[in-house]
Symmetry: C2
Subunit: 337 residues, 2 copies
DNA sequence: CCGGAAAATTGTAGCGCTACAAAAATCATC
DNA sequence: GATGATTTTTGTAGCGCTACAATTTTCCGG
């Protein structure tokens, strides 16, 4: 591959103007709104641009137009993989509008979220997507379009909230198990915000069906161990249970372990449904029925909402739920006996 | 939370200078090298900055200094989760130096990698980290410090290569199984680059031990199905096999399925070791012995290498392997019989 | 208390681009 | 062909910051 000789200086808009025989302003116009320029000049300018390998300097554009065309994404924690889908969704909606996404993570513990946000604000991002627990002070002293993604306790004033409909997903899971003929259904929950929404959705559908509500782990965490403990409790106190809904896929794994320890086979003796449609659930070996958050759709919606708010910051804050999707796989089955 | 009234105009360096009673140049100096400013003025300037809530404009800084303080990361595919660790490692090494990371993904298929790279080059990133298959033309016409992360077929001229020592990891896996007393060891491999390195490492250690080399799946993929098929072949052709090394955790899952189908229990009848130390392996239910790539360390090294190359672009291209780590869990056991 | 070196501070001139008003070219109409 | 309305093109003046030379202040030894 030929790499051109390291040019001493990148070509600027002036170089393009000179070789195309027009004024710099005209070149700038071509960049922003080609249709306003006569075809003859446009062609000449474009030819000059590709001849010189010209790339507009984002910094200069930003400075001159005071539009950064970039939005910031603040995340809690890289290990929480849902942000990957969120990011993908955001990018797909944002890039057609010429926006770039810049990532900043706020490692929990310290007051890193303000720090992360500060960095983004220094770049003069036009909007902020907060996929982390917002702090009181993070937006102090600025008035920037912001949207919060995911369930959070506090939403800064004026910010939108786009989130997964966890309650709806809980209903879906219950609905699925009921439709398979189950009526002795347990739920493994946890103390988190998302878990409690899933729980309430589940509970409401179960009550509608006039079936006994069996819930375990309400004050525990949502790890695999917690799932195991909750499943053990449920299976021991209600040995007739035929189906289990876990608040996430990891907890479902704990349920598998509990079932195995009791000689119950999944899905013949016990149906198990998870939540998140994580790689765990997708694996052929585990082949787990799960509820998919559609975080990618959240990303798209977050992006569109933010775009709207950037255009009109006075917009009334919006709250929107994204409908999850049930992915039926091999760990749930019609009640046999 | 109080949000200050939306200030009509962000404070600039002039505002700070005025309220601190100094010249703009002095403020700029404080920003870059506080030690060169007398304590009295420094204090005054810093007070003015926080009073006004001043944040330097990155665009202006960039334009004036022609240093963007940002580096670009090109990735193949968001679904390939290893980039998350890479990113985390990079950020931890880069942020102390004031660098920001901007992400661009090149969805495979189309010529998107050039496109993604172009966007980054337009931002005038100071360096590029390529965690994707480099294309011939991607760096055409520029001469930018670049480092390639991960195994690739081609490395652009002048770029460094930092990657996981997959061969070393393969040796490690073999070593582990041998040390447990196994001597009839099978390997589930695939056609990919990483897989072939892991295979060669495995093979060399096995040959050293003077044990029969049993490899399956050389021309297949590396999915769970592929793992299943390869494991079936191996277990059927060499029924005395007591240990299996899978080229990744997903394939190991396939191996579990194959073992289960044959009534073999893991690890009592069959030890299985995976690769990647993915969430799959970490799960308590699966509790899989696996080799961890230490992609976070790759990220740190990538960042440092890039930093060095930015400082001195004439540096001789470097190739470095990062040592993986063996994580022993519950799917490997000492040979019993 | 002065001269000269060192340290601290400041003014000036851009970085590469866009906004916008002004000028030039083109067009339509009488 | 002249007139006014349109469309196209172009100068000019920054955007907010930094580099660097020039200037001012401070510090010392004599």
């Amino acid at each position: 591959m030929t790499q051109n000789t390291p040019r001493s200086r990148r070509p600027t808009i002036y170089d393009v103007a000179t070789t195309a025989g027009v004024s710099p302003s005209l070149v700038s116009l071509v960049l922003q709104n080609p249709s306003k320029v006569s075809e003859k000049r446009r062609k000449a300018v474009q030819a000059a641009m590709s001849e010189l390998g010209y790339r507009p300097s984002r910094a200069a554009t930003t400075l001159a137009s005071s539009q950064t065309k970039s939005i910031g994404l603040v995340i809690d924690d890289y290990r929480n993989l849902w942000f990957v889908d969120l990011l993908r969704g955001m990018e797909s909606a944002l890039s057609p509008h010429g926006y770039q996404v810049t990532l900043a993570d706020s490692r929990p513990g310290e007051n890193r979220i303000t720090e992360a946000t500060d960095g983004l604000l220094g770049m003069h991002v036009e909007g902020l997507v907060i996929a982390a627990e917002p702090s009181e002070s993070m937006l102090a002293g600025t008035w920037i379009p912001a949207v919060v993604a995911g369930w959070r306790n506090d939403v800064p004033a004026g910010a939108d909230l786009i989130t997964n409909d966890d309650a709806g997903g809980g209903r879906m899971a219950a609905e699925h198990l009921l439709s398979l003929g189950h009526s002795r259904i347990g739920h493994l929950t946890g103390s988190g915000g998302a878990a409690s929404h899933r729980r309430e959705g589940f509970r409401s559908r179960i009550l509608e069906a006039g079936v006994e509500v069996r819930i375990a782990g309400e004050s525990q965490g949502t790890s695999e161990e917690d799932g195991y403990a909750a499943a053990c409790w449920l299976l021991d106190h209600h040995p007739d249970t035929t189906a289990l809904f876990a608040a996430n896929d990891t907890m479902a794994l704990g349920a598998f372990a509990a079932a195995k320890a009791r000689g119950l086979s999944v899905p013949d003796d016990l149906s198990v449904i998870g939540y998140d449609n994580s790689p765990l659930a997708k694996s052929r070996y585990l082949d787990m029925t799960s509820v998919d958050n559609r975080s990618d759709l959240v990303g798209v919606d977050v992006a569109n909402t933010l775009l709207a708010r950037i255009q009109d910051p006075a917009l009334k804050p919006r709250r929107k739920l994204i409908e999850p999707a049930l992915i039926v796989r091999g760990t749930t089955a019609r009640l046999s006996s």
